[in-house]
Amino acid sequence: MTSGPHLAVALDGVGWHPAAWRLPEARPEQVLTAGFWLDQAVEAQRGLLDFVTLEDTLALQDDPFNPSTDGTDRVQGRLDSVLVAARIAPATEHIGIIPTAVATHTEPFHLSKAIATLDYVSTGRAGVRVRIGWTPQENAHFGRRDIGTPRLADAHLGDQRSDIADLFDETADYVEVLRRLWDSWEDDAEIRDVATGRFVDRDRLHYIDFEGRWFSVKGPSITPRPPQGQPVVATLSHAIVPNRLAARSADVVFVTPTDRADAARTVAEIRDEQAKAGREQETLHVFGDVVVFLDGTTATARDHKKRLDDLAGAEYRSDAHVFTGTPGDLVDLLLDWHAAGLSGFRLRPGAVPHDLTGITRGVAGELRSRGLFRNAYEADTLRGLLGLSRPANRYAA
């Protein structure tokens, strides 16, 4: 591998622009089929990207940055991203696959074995992005708990207790349970000792005995330790409170800097939190998210985006930086931000397939031509692609 940035793509329907589905080459009628997702993953793999992420929530799609009057003009409806990941895993060979899971409303025991199993069916290419489920809509779908009145704005209040901070703290506990369960079987626990009739050595299976403020989980997992030992855990962060979650719990954090200085500031803040969490020796990749509208020239890229904005009736807005231009100009920007401390980028294609191939062929190709991106996959696992070693088991003597 070179010293260039890591490169990933964030898959979300037919692209991140709300009007992307209306382009002639878009296939919105196929978003609920396996083939639609497989084709995108295969395209990303063709570009030798590190991984794809799959967006998900426990509700219908809702884009607060680009509000719709009644939602009928948007792609609506989506599948459980962990199952989409499992469906595409056996049909791909190299690319990492990171679905999204909502910690607030789901069982860490179920998710732990689901991601461990994703790691088995992908032979070591699994990760999971963990998020909170803070909206009243998601909460009403479960009707199980009082989550207070979480406000995203409160995530900027560092040391002040808030309902949103509680959800992030709970998520840190949740990830701790995932990780303990992944380690709850030592690698050599299955002994198949015919002489004594023992299938496992029970001394190499471990109760995790997690007890926290929100839940307790006994363990061990029902699923043996996955191929990577610890599948990759990712989070998305825009503020100090989720930065702390990333610093405590994640291997990869996606951030949304607006410029190079903001990127440097964000990385510094995360490194500071990482040190406070006692994890300065561990690798925590900070990936910059950028929404991209790409074409061969700046003018045609602008036409491409304007066409989409005209269809939507409003200029596209995002939590992340929006780039419109050529792959070459984007690479210039990415390398500038990379120099400021970002270890990689998760690009969000404005429209699929146009901007997906813009990434997989254009951007990846441009980086490669500068000697800054792989010519072939150099590792068999997602951890390997990210330069993460296979970790020792916390319970092994």
Partner: protein, 441 residues
């Protein structure tokens, strides 16, 4: 009229019928084992592939039980991955209602049905125990007497969510910018004693509409539930008499729900041992039974009935001379079979009678009284027997449980299935694409 047989393949379970010590036995966790069995089942034109459930490692005498296969993957994840390597085979998963919420299970099955293009099936189980609940944040959050009521409303609530999309809501009209015809598509509101939920279900209607519903309970309530709501029953009545009685009972309950006999398939679980001749198969069956019940396993199985530590007993010696310990069974945890010993004293008396009359050791007795294979014989004999049971209305088919992973179905697929096909009682090609097509439900 000659009935068509339905067949399913059960991935070998986490129990002593699975012989992990066999030289042919492969991994129970590597995906390649699941692929192998599923592809064999699809090659043989089986209706579906089946996964059982167990959400806590079993324990006996306060220790993790180590004599059987231990460990299994996540059901939904494996089934979604198998959808990538099969194209017609149904994909059935056992998912219980206690450690899940209707919204997430409905979303997972609807997703699986889309991703498999209409091949998803849900074996609904209502089991619960506090022991398993220790792995879950919501475990034990309900008093015991409310848990069964919750289980009953769980399925209907999940189906209500799945049905919240009719199937005609997606316009996908690029020219006019209308993706969704109905701004309220997927809306639901449900309130009962257990679930108070509302909102919009995020998965539009899937190819099968609803996943195929399997039911496994044997109680009166369970049978009624199956008659009202299930497409197939996973029963344990595989013999002629018991099968016919069960079959008549559950089919007889259908009319009051306005359903016909064809709308509920009765599929007992069945084990099998094949041989070149019937005598050869008998010999092999005996060897398999001894593999399944080692001396150590015999003692452990006996402890489950006796509800006591019998580790000091010799498996080649006689039964304990004391009666089973009365009261709540605490010796073995996390297994369904413990609850099957409803009257331990009577069962022990019966077993003692058999042991004394035949002069059997503990191990030989356990081999005899537990889990003998349903079908033993040459391929011709087994094909004949299966067909007889189906035509005599003891079953509509069988869920076959091989004892070796992952190749344990190969011989059946290669030798028994062609004979059933020759008789015209089993499909030679899939007639449709969905599991509902295969089952005719």
């Amino acid at each position: 009229m000659t009935k068509q047989i339905h067949l399913a393949a059960h991935f070998p379970g986490v129990n002593n019928t699975t012989v992990w010590s066999d030289p042919e036995a492969g991994s129970h966790i590597e995906f390649s084992s699941f692929v192998k069995l599923a592809r064999t089942a699809e090659r043989a034109k089986f209706d579906f592939f089946f996964l059982a459930e167990g959400l806590r490692l079993r324990e006996q005498g306060g220790e993790i039980y180590d004599l059987d296969v231990v460990g299994r993957p996540d059901t939904f994840t494996v089934l979604a991955a198998l959808a990538a390597v099969t194209s017609k085979l149904g994909l059935a998963g056992t998912i219980n209602s206690t450690f899940n919420e209707p919204f997430e299970v409905a979303r997972q099955f609807a997703s699986l049905d889309h991703l498999s293009a209409g091949r998803a099936a849900w074996n609904v189980v209502t089991s619960w125990d506090a022991f398993t609940g220790e792995n879950f944040r919501r475990g034990g959050f309900l008093p015991q007497d409310q848990r069964y009521a919750r289980a009953k409303t769980f399925l209907s609530t999940a189906l209500e969510l799945i049905d919240s999309w009719r199937g005609d809501e997606l316009a996908v009209d690029k020219a006019h910018g209308v993706f969704l015809r109905d701004p309220d598509a997927g809306s639901f509101a449900h309130r009962d004693d257990h679930f108070h939920i509302s909102g919009r279900f995020p998965v539009p209607r899937s190819p099968q509409g609803r996943p195929v519903i399997l039911q496994a309970g044997d109680s009166d309530e369970g049978r009624e539930f199956a008659a009202s709501s299930a497409d197939a029953i996973f029963s344990r009545h595989g013999t002629l008499e018991a099968g016919q009685a069960f079959y008549a009972d559950v089919k007889g309950r259908l009319a009051k729900y306005g359903r016909t006999h064809e709308q509920l398939k009765v599929l007992p679980a069945a084990t099998f041992v094949l041989g070149d001749t019937d005598a050869d198969a008998q010999e092999r069956a005996d060897v398999v039974r001894h593999q399944q019940v080692s001396g150590a396993t015999a003692i452990k199985l006996l402890e489950q009935l006796w509800n006591a530590d019998l580790s000091g007993y010799d498996p080649d010696g006689p039964l304990p001379d004391f009666d089973p310990v009365d009261g709540e069974n605490t010796i073995a945890r996390g297994r369904a079979s413990v609850r099957m010993h409803r009257d331990p004293l009577a069962t022990a008396q019966e077993w003692r009678g058999i042991a004394e009359s035949k002069n059997l050791s503990i191990r030989e007795l356990v081999i005899q009284v537990t889990g003998r294979q349903n079908f033993i014989g040459s391929a011709a004999t087994v094909a004949e027997r299966i067909n007889e049971l189906v035509q005599a209305d003891a079953a509509d088919g069988f869920i076959l449980v091989p004892h070796v992973t992952p190749g344990g179905l190969d011989e059946f697929a290669d030798t028994v299935v062609p004979l059933l096909q020759e008789r015209g009682v089993f499909r030679t090609e899939y007639g449709g694409d969905t599991l509902r097509d295969h089952l005719g439900v």
